[in-house]
Symmetry: C2
Subunit: 375 residues, 2 copies
């Protein structure tokens, strides 16, 4: 359903890069395709382009709907559109499915040209750096020399940050929301349990489940359930579900007793029905590996010294996956480098998922920042 | 290995209750057995008995070692012994494996007298209330009319609390550490994911895995990995593991990259090798169900009004599973009832697991409280 200030019906497009891409792992992709969408119009000066990067389970479908599926609203539709905080009357906005994704870009679901079979587990692990390198080729093809801004939440924010490091002259503003400069041990631990759930599912078959005509749904389901716990705040879970029972009394069985159990099972089942397990595994590794300070003996300020962009960093008070303290690490490292940085710590009870919601205060500060970007 | 102030070599004992036990679920157990250990000596007045209740994966083996396995140290050996905070020169201490456990008490591993086969999934779900009812029969058999104290951490603390409600005249002191008056939605959510990991393991066979000659190790392993994340604090995980790599560089595979992954896999594998899946499942349900305020429309003070004991409540600053706020709920409800309650909020970086450690400040305040108990 499109609303008054929606970008309306959109159509995904496809970009093919014929040149081989050497990945951070050393593996080489012999060309690749990226699926993307655009909203708004590139101006004559080509100065109003904004890239929106997706997080773990997101896609290129950032805003609007599809003609053949009007209920499929883009994941950041509340933010992107005419008159919305990321205003498509001003900006030319691009959403792209990352390399290794499962929404149409080259990834584990694609055919391996060397074997004529689906890549599956043979698709090489890609990193945040690789995603940005692939996105840069799309920018080249679209004639976008410099992004007015690169925006993202969570893992998307890491890509925005990486843009400022890999291509300091091609990005004017980094907007990184609910993000972190690297995962903590606890973050990695949650990812590892999710991975083990998938890897140990008997239907995983070493990642070549397609050849066996199955999908490791049990593992994907558990992975998503674990994820969901970390996306919500403790307080919000209590508000949303508390100890509310599905039935009037305890069942003394392993059926659903509490509403929160029903919610998690539903989210897990839904996700396992459409998301690719190899993409999920690989994306958690991209998260784990991202650490621009690694080559600087852990000195984030040293790592960020080469960035030239201006920054908008935002975090949410109840986000315990990427807490405000993690965003402040980025802010402090930028200040050490005397970079221009705006920081908003937003009081919102929705935990990590807040970045996807249209909290009034959050959208107001983001709107204000984006309005001030010259195009 | 026994140290100077160890209770030394101990021998588990077995208590059999022939009378049927009606459980909270309505199911009836036709008699049952409990395995227990004792340390110290019951005094002539029978006034120095202390019950130690175990948490999710604990057992009756609280202190000391076994003659045939000198490395098997009791789980709270640092607390219980001659001259230790719970001094066995003063107290007669009892550890008991709860009903439904897998360390020798009647439970899913026992033979169902009605079928002559192992109970497995047919063992009825037991609650904290049922555990306390069974413990009371053991107390009767030992001639213990009144406990000087009932002690426990986490789920063990819930049992101590329940003693004061079910048998207000049979307990003089409740010592509940790192506990909560009920689980939060997030607590239940973590339990539910652990349960789903086990229930969806193809080797679970509806809980009758023994008949199939298998064990749902994959599920148990995941359940334990999830648990371990919640037992440690974020800070402690960062101190203990940080982003330390197992090898010098990223492996670009799903082998172990980070030490924290290795730790979790090890803990999961170890646990899956000895713990019973049906006991694990049932124990998480006992945790979920415990909620003394449920029958009082959520009014905890109303629920605790019938308690007559004195209370010592302790929590740990970095425990995010059962945070200090959860302990304070108990304290406030007791104060509303004008009950005597001492509360210690201990600054310790080890998260929920702090209750098992011998943090000097923690042990000092606990010692002081226990020293003041008249026997």
């Amino acid at each position: 359903m499109t609303s008054e200030n929606s970008v309306g019906i959109v159509t995904p497009q496809r970009f093919r890069s014929e040149a081989p891409l050497t990945l951070k792992s050393g593996a080489v992709l012999p060309g690749f395709e990226l699926v993307y969408e655009t909203y708004g119009t590139l101006n004559a000066a080509r100065s109003n382009a904004v890239l929106v990067c997706h997080a773990l389970s997101g896609s290129h479908h950032v805003a609007g709907t599809y003609a053949d599926n009007p209920n499929n609203l883009g994941w950041w539709d509340n933010l992107v559109g005419p008159g919305k905080p990321l205003d498509t009357q001003k900006f030319f906005v691009i959403g792209v499915n990352n390399l290794g994704g499962c929404y149409g870009s080259t990834g584990p679901l694609s055919t391996n040209p060397e074997t004529g079979k689906r890549y599956g587990a043979d698709f090489p692990l890609v990193t945040v750096e690789d995603w940005v390198a692939a996105q840069a080729r799309l920018a080249d093809a679209l004639g976008i020399d410099t992004w007015a801004a690169v925006l993202g939440g969570s893992l998307g924010g890491m890509q925005a940050l990486e843009w400022s490091l890999q291509f300091p002259d091609r990005i004017r503003h980094v907007v990184a929301i609910a993000s972190a400069p690297k995962l903590s041990a606890q973050n990695i631990a949650f990812n590892e349990v999710a991975r083990q759930a998938i890897l140990s599912d008997p239907d995983f078959h070493g990642g070549h489940y397609a050849e066996h005509g199955v999908v490791p749904k049990r593992g994907l389901r558990l992975a998503r359930m674990i994820g969901h716990i970390t996306y919500l705040s403790d307080d919000q879970m209590d508000e949303k579900f508390g100890r509310r029972l599905r039935h009037d009394e305890h069942r003394f069985s392993y059926d659903v007793d509490f509403e929160v159990e029903s919610y998690l099972r539903y989210q897990g089942d839904k996700f396992a029905g459409f998301f690719d397990a190899n993409t999920y595994l690989a994306t958690t590794k991209a998260l784990d590996y991202f650490d621009p300070a690694f080559a600087y003996d852990g000195d984030l300020a040293g790592a960020l010294a080469r960035a030239k962009a201006e920054f908008f960093i935002a975090s949410f008070s109840t986000d315990w996956r990427f807490s405000p303290a993690r965003s402040r690490e980025i802010v402090f490292a930028l200040l050490k480098n005397r970079r221009r940085v705006a920081y908003a710590e937003i009081d919102c009870d929705a935990g990590h998922d807040s970045f996807l919601l249209d909290d009034a205060h959050y959208h107001a500060v983001l709107r204000a920042y984006l309005e001030n970007i010259a195009v």
